[in-house]
């Protein structure tokens, strides 16, 4: 009963000849119907992991099953169960969107009578019906990504791999793609394995997040769990009169430990955001006029910082992921 399976990986390793250990013993479980966000900087091993799980790259060590099938021994069954939109939309700039779908439906073995209907349905679903007969080289980045997604869905896969699907897209295109991914998971029960280097993407889209760095998963859980692990929220108060900063700090000290603030004074709350109302009442009782009061929740970047000692932004500039076409060690 493959339908009951998502993705299970155990000790997955990929070494490249004369290169680093791109993936260094990954263990993960993705439940059916879940959106799993695989978050990490460039070169962390995200794409190498996706290539292994989609059977495009054999692992050096470890095992994994996708949809209940072994990625090494049951490659054809894995490929039949998955759809994938890999990094950089792999499209032919000289073909139209409709021609891409015709080719993909044929190669996927969709019955001849259903091909055109399936193609139209998917073009409509990703909002490309109007542009279906235009060559792909004239498409925007967002349109290419949406076509890439449509092609990955041609054979109604149970598991969908999206490798950095929104990299380089504008905010509007990104939101549209998020909406579609969410719909796939919620309405169609598709399991989504999504790699990203965007904190916000993992935060708003994923049910669970795995943070990868240097080929290892350094943290895993729901976004809320991960953020709760690294710390409590902070409150920053900016008094209307900056002379009152010391007074404000004294009041805030009743609720937590002082911490760095951008403009005013801040504390890390001892008991969480429930204290917020108490703080407002205390400031009011002391007659302190406030210009601004903000609650800062810990972000996934704080999680990454706590786990790796580095900020996620810019972390990938240190090293790029090895060329995936390299020969195995």
């Amino acid at each position: 009963m493959a339908d009951e399976h998502g993705i299970v990986a155990s000790g997955l390793v990929r070494e490249f000849k004369k290169g680093p250990r791109a993936v260094d013993g990954i263990d993960l479980v993705v439940h059916p119907g879940e959106i799993y966000g695989f978050l990490g900087p460039n070169g962390a091993g995200k794409s190498t992991t996706v290539h292994m799980l989609t059977t495009l790259l054999p692992p050096t060590a470890g095992t994994a099953t996708v949809a209940g099938y072994d990625i090494v021994r049951e490659g054809p069954q894995v490929r039949a169960a998955i759809g994938a939109a890999l990094q950089e939309a792999a499209l032919d700039p000289l073909l139209t969107g409709r021609e891409h779908l015709r080719l993909q439906t044929t190669l996927q073995g969709i019955p001849r009578a259903e091909r055109a209907r399936r193609g139209e349905l998917l073009l409509e679903r990703v909002g490309l019906s109007q542009a279906a007969d235009r060559k792909v080289r004239g498409y925007s980045g967002g349109m290419k990504r949406r076509l890439d997604l449509a092609l990955a869905l041609v054979h109604s896969p149970r598991i969908l791999f999206l490798d950095e699907p929104t990299t380089g897209l504008d905010v509007q295109s990104r939101s549209a793609l998020w909406e579609e991914v969410r719909r796939l998971a919620q309405d169609d029960g598709v399991t989504v394995f999504l790699t990203t280097q965007y904190l916000e993407e993992a935060d708003v889209l994923a049910n669970r997040v795995g943070i990868i760095d240097h080929g290892r998963i350094v943290a895993e859980g729901t976004p809320a769990q991960l953020k709760a692990e690294v710390g409590r929220p902070t409150v920053e108060v900016v008094p209307a009169d900056l002379e009152d900063k010391e007074r404000a700090a004294g009041i805030l000290a009743r609720f937590g430990e002082p911490c760095a603030a951008i403009q005013g004074v801040a504390v890390r709350l001892r008991t969480g955001e429930a204290d917020l109302a108490e703080i407002v009442r205390a400031l009011d009782a002391e007659g302190l006029k406030v210009e601004n009061l903000q609650l800062h929740q810990p972000s996934l970047d704080d999680v990454f910082l706590a786990k790796t000692g580095r900020s996620l932004e810019g972390a990938g500039e240190e090293e790029e992921e090895p060329e995936l076409a390299l020969e195995p060690a």
């Binding site: 059977t55 998955i82 792999a90 073995g109 060559k135």
Partner: protein, 259 residues
């Protein structure tokens, strides 16, 4: 051969033709360049027909075999660069994730190359007829010439595909173009082998398989039904095709590392 396989090959061949047709430089240049060279050579080297033992009194008829080989070289480049681009852009990975068999990809790609070769061959034959070339082997010879050129296109197209699959680089494939052109020039392209006076050139042309391909084509145009020339020509063409297709298939298997 299953219906699904045939459909896959058909779609991939269609894609190959559509891609080529939508790149005017890939259509026009392989047609215009050999015709220009043919025009220049046939007027400039007409006096060579006065040499004792020259097989025809029309240098145009003698040189008409050359565009077929130049067309084959362009087929090599086009097939190679197209496939290399698929590797570089990740399109090959997209195809690898479908139930498509590797041999379908290769067959489709080569089917497209052969379709273009057929168009080219038709143009060369038509150009020869328009310019008054008498095809010595008659209508049957023209049909054999057509089939022969398709076989050459298959072999050289597979060679281009092999280079692309081996290197994964369009630049590397294009870098081989001068090498192939040297093979063409050090052959019996411009002069029958027995009339080449420079000894090393004659030896090189005799060792060069391209000479036998040209001589096979040429025999149908200027001699008629020459069994030896045709046997050697077809033999070399089949050998090149079998070797190149085998190498390309093996390289494709390595390139499609899917489990």
């Amino acid at each position: 051969m299953s219906e699904r396989f045939v459909e896959q090959v058909g779609q991939l061949a269609r894609r190959s033709v559509v891609r080529t047709a939508r790149q005017p430089a890939n259509v026009v240049f392989p047609l215009v360049f050999p015709l220009l060279l043919l025009a220049v050579n046939s007027t400039g080297l007409e006096s060579a027909t006065h040499l004792p033992g020259f097989p025809t009194d029309s240098y145009l008829a003698f040189a008409l075999a050359v565009p077929f080989m130049q067309g084959a070289l362009f087929a090599t480049m086009n097939a190679g660069t197209d496939l290399a681009r698929d590797i570089q852009t990740g399109f090959l990975n997209r195809l690898a994730l479908t139930p498509m068999r590797g041999i379908a990809l290769l067959s489709g790609q080569l089917g497209g190359v052969m379709a273009m070769t057929a168009v080219q061959a038709a143009v060369w034959i038509a150009a020869g007829l328009i310019l008054g070339v008498h095809f010595a082997a008659g209508v049957g010879g023209i049909a054999v010439l057509f089939i022969f050129s398709l076989l050459i296109g298959l072999g050289f197209g597979a060679l281009g595909a092999f280079l692309a699959l081996r290197t994964g680089s369009g630049e590397a494939v294009q870098g081989m173009f001068p090498v192939f052109f040297v093979f063409l020039f050090i052959s019996s392209m411009a002069m029958p082998r027995n009339l080449i006076e420079i000894k090393w050139f004659q030896t090189a042309a005799t060792l060069n398989p391209v000479s036998y391909l040209i001589e096979g084509i040429r025999s149908l145009i200027v001699i008629g039904w020459d069994a030896e020339a045709l046997a050697l020509g077809f033999g070399v063409a089949i050998l090149i095709a079998v070797t190149a297709v085998t190498l390309a298939s093996l390289s494709l298997r390595t390139r499609l590392t899917r489990s």
